[in-house]
């Protein structure tokens, strides 16, 4: 059994979105909090890909940012290779840890500084971590990285606006791989790309994973893409994990009602015209989540217990599901 590279335990992030103090006093408004991530636990093994899927407001992007240290957890722990990341990043070992994990972002147009040349963009992590300082060696390494993502070394002298969305995303990947990290967090890396460009980028990411033994946390709302890249899939709803399973298991036999609803709802070119259960309702306001199981207002199987008691993520036949109905074997 290989050692889990990334372990997340009871991770929570609460944002204070209260109105300003004066408004609260004068208008008697209460403090308002958003539980963007509400007790999430999972682990990723080395060389594997865990995908987190969910709709808007489910907290998957927040989880991504918690993992790389852009946010500090309110509760819970993120462990990378056995060490607590929040503590390490704040201390002297922070730079060494940052070298080992990097992030790729969703928007190819905003993730590269428009005023910097590609050479400088990709070289920045190398310079920041003091890995290479001689200009010729730097240039050579940047050229090598560009080639590894299917671009040419002459592209290093150009500016981001001279590239298309797909090429910019590849530059982002090259930058992320500069320090030879072991773990990459990918926040919807292909959501803003056209389908044929998406195919190119996904293929590159899979090739790189195979060649370099990378571990990915892949965030997406597109289940078809997730099916293509992931080994394990976690489904999130309003800050909580509702189901975690191996890919094959999740897609062939989804357990949680929300997972089933998601899979049913996707318009798919190969499966159009199939019979479906109609989808109900919309994602509730995260400022005012439903009591108990947050999915109960939309769930066809909800009962009184679902309204009052929050289900815990429990293991059933190799799948982890947070659902009373599954636990009680009602569905």
């Amino acid at each position: 059994m290989s050692h889990a590279l990334v372990e997340v335990q009871d991770l929570a992030k609460i944002f204070d979105v209260s109105p300003p103090w004066l408004n609260r006093v004068v208008e008697r408004k209460p403090k308002a909090f958003v539980h963007a991530v509400d007790g999430v636990s999972f682990s990723i093994e080395k060389g594997k890909t865990l995908a987190l899927v969910g709709e808007s407001g489910c907290g998957k992007s927040t989880v991504a940012r918690l993992l790389v240290g852009l946010y500090k957890p309110t509760q819970g722990q993120v462990r990378f290779d056995g060490t607590d990341t929040a503590q390490t990043l704040a201390g002297p070992g922070g730079q060494a840890l940052r070298r080992r994990m990097q992030m790729i972002f969703q928007d190819p147009y905003a993730s590269l500084n428009p005023r910097w040349k590609v050479q400088d963009i990709i070289a920045e992590p190398l310079l920041e971590h003091g890995l290479i300082s001689k200009p010729e060696a730097l240039k050579a390494r940047v050229a090598e990285l560009l080639r590894s993502v299917g671009l040419s070394p002459v592209d290093a002298e150009k500016f981001p606006h001279q590239f298309s969305g797909g090429q910019r995303q590849r530059i982002s990947i090259a930058r992320a791989l500069a320090t030879q990290p072991e773990f990459l967090v990918c926040d919807e890396p292909t959501s803003a790309l056209d389908v044929s460009v998406q195919a190119q980028v996904l293929n590159i990411m899979k090739d790189l994973q195979r060649q370099q033994g990378l571990t990915y946390l892949f965030i997406s709302h597109n289940l078809a893409v997730v099916r293509h890249v992931a080994d394990q899939v976690g489904v999130m709803y309003l800050g909580r994990l509702v189901e975690v399973a191996d890919k094959a298991q999740l897609f062939s036999a989804p357990r949680h009602p929300y997972t089933r609803m998601l899979l049913d709802a996707i318009p798919d070119i190969h499966m159009s015209g199939r019979a479906r259960t109609p989808v109900q309702g919309e994602v509730p306001n995260p400022l005012n989540p439903p009591s108990g199981c947050s999915f109960h207002p939309r769930c066809p199987h909800a009962n009184a217990r679902c309204k009052s008691e929050r289900p815990a993520l429990r293991e059933f036949q190799g799948v982890r599901v947070a659902c009373h109905a599954v636990e009680e074997a009602r569905i």
Binding site: V197, A224, I266, P267
Partner: protein
């Protein structure tokens, strides 16, 4: 065969820039029959949104229609003066855009916007218009329509807003709805709801729909026919099932292959190398020839027109021989 509702003939749209004139749409032709749902699919830069904008008459200057015709029920609408076009827009053609946030005026209640549209185009009194507005909201699935009609757009969620926008588009009983990426900004589960809503109300009202999107899945679920666009031209057009499962144009083949499927596992996705050419660098002959795995000499020299291939029509010289054989 019934006369087509909308006919687009050899439409050309160009953008004069300081570096020369760019041809954004190059001889587009297609028809939409009454009550039919036609999908227009393509990647960024293919010109699908421009096609929609030209039909509604909302082409952003300096873009302009440089040639061809657009006929609605046999009458030309591309060369109408502004006032005439304004009457056509709304009454004959409704529009649904991508961002529900900016499609509705945040300062007016939903009811007021609906009533305004209805009374502008239909000879109804205020109270009749209001009754019709409530009815429309109910049809588009807004709960408690009688109360919500007096609410402001910001009090609706994204999916609800898009339903209001659809209601607004249908308010004056148009014959054609142009929907430009109506579900792209919405969550997956809401997308499904909006797609089925659009399909249902359009069939009920007998309105034809031109659905512009980059999402093939949405096309598969909604449309009767689909046109695949590439670099400002139509690459293939035909019934949805045939274009998706038996694509004739190599670009369509590549496009279908690069979409990850929900029902099968593949190690690598089919990938089309290169990118769609920019408007100032469109190759001579067939625009797809630099990326086509089946390219031959004629492709680089002559631009192919749409020619019949089994159930669809594709702009590809590969099928010329078949065409000739069939003719003979």
């Amino acid at each position: 065969m019934t006369a087509p509702l909308l006919q687009v003939r050899n439409l050309r749209v160009e953008f004069p820039t300081r570096r020369g004139t760019l041809l954004a749409l190059d001889n587009i032709s297609f028809d939409i029959a009454p009550g039919e749902i036609l999908g227009v699919v393509g990647e960024s830069g293919a010109g699908k949104s421009l096609t929609g904008a030209s039909i509604i008459g909302l082409l952003d200057p300096p873009g302009r229609i440089a040639g061809g015709e657009i006929l609605l029920e046999g009458r030309r609408i591309d060369n109408l003066p502004y006032e005439e076009m304004r009457k056509v827009r709304g009454r004959q053609i409704g529009a649904v855009f991508q961002d529900p946030l900016t499609s509705l005026n945040p300062l007016y209640t939903v009811g007021r916007q609906l009533v305004e549209t209805i009374t502008t185009h239909l000879p109804l009194t205020e109270s009749q218009a209001r009754a019709r507005a409530i009815d429309l909201l109910k049809q588009t699935g807004i709960p408690a329509a009688e109360q919500r009609i007096d609410q402001y757009p910001h009090q609706f969620s994204g999916g609800m807003r898009q339903r209001v926008v659809i209601a607004l588009a249908l308010a004056a009983e148009p014959k054609l709805i142009v929907a430009d990426e109506p579900t792209t900004a919405l969550d997956v589960s809401i997308q499904a709801q909006i797609i089925s809503l659009l399909k249902r109300v359009c069939k009920e009202q007998g309105a034809a729909v031109m659905l512009v999107t980059h999402d093939m899945g949405v096309i598969a679920e909604t449309c009767d026919r689909v046109a695949v666009m590439y670099a400002g031209r139509v690459a293939e057009i035909g019934p949805v099932h045939d274009v998706i499962h038996k694509p004739a144009h190599p670009y369509t083949v590549g496009l279908m292959g690069s979409i990850p499927a929900m029902d099968e596992d593949r190690e690598r996705l089919l990938q089309i190398d290169g990118a769609m050419p920019r408007l100032n660098a469109i190759p001579t002959g067939c625009a797809y020839n630099p990326r086509c795995p089946k390219v031959f000499e004629r492709c680089r020299a002559e631009r192919p027109e749409l020619m019949p291939v089994a159930a669809t029509r594709a702009a590809c010289w590969l099928h010329q021989a078949a065409h000739k054989e069939a003719a003979v």
